[in-house]
């Protein structure tokens, strides 16, 4: 529960379908909060909150000009999440070969049976 990582807020942000839709939309280019809100049946306020979540997670960047806040994707944020998979893929990819093998591995791991 303790420990590291900026990945917590990133994955948390992506876990919500509305937020993921917003990110997908932003992949096509920057948009205002109102524009982002248009496709959804929730209040503008709710979308503003989603944008804030995305921003603090680092997935999105915003800039207010006049009364409009422009939101755009932060590629570095997206990359940081993707990198997590990449950095572990080699390991679990190897497991793909012996898919059927699962369990039944009689050795090389943890748990030194402590009590007899």
């Amino acid at each position: 529960m303790l420990q590291h990582s900026h990945l917590d807020p990133v994955f948390h942000a992506l876990a919500d379908p509305t937020r993921r839709s917003i990110v997908e939309r932003l992949a096509a280019g920057a948009a205002s909060v109102s524009e982002l809100a248009a496709p959804f049946a929730v209040s503008l306020s709710a979308i503003g909150q989603h944008v804030h979540v995305l921003e603090t997670s680092g997935l999105v960047r915003t800039l207010k000009t006049g009364r409009v806040r422009s939101v755009e994707l932060a590629p570095e944020g997206m990359a940081s999440a993707e990198d997590w998979f990449a950095s572990h893929r080699k390991q679990w990819e190897g497991r793909l070969d012996r898919l059927g093998t699962l369990l039944a591995e009689p050795d090389d791991d943890e748990a030194p049976s402590r009590s007899r």
Copy 2:
């Protein structure tokens, strides 16, 4: 809020650091619930619950043999999450070039001012 996706539970599962640690550990090979619990300062019950979350998200597969439940990574589950990034990367990658450009796009996709 409306719509699809199995990605909701996947990203939700990955948003928790304990669960992400479990996944990382499983990348090295299958393990029992007790083995997975060892590094953490929480109850075995809590880890069992985390494993359940991971399993219903499709990131992990389990099989109980005797009194031991063996947990192993489900590469397809991992891949489905990674694929989401891949399927959008081309779009937002293009944005990387014109990083400074944001906002200020005098384009034609505004709100059609209907009044007045």
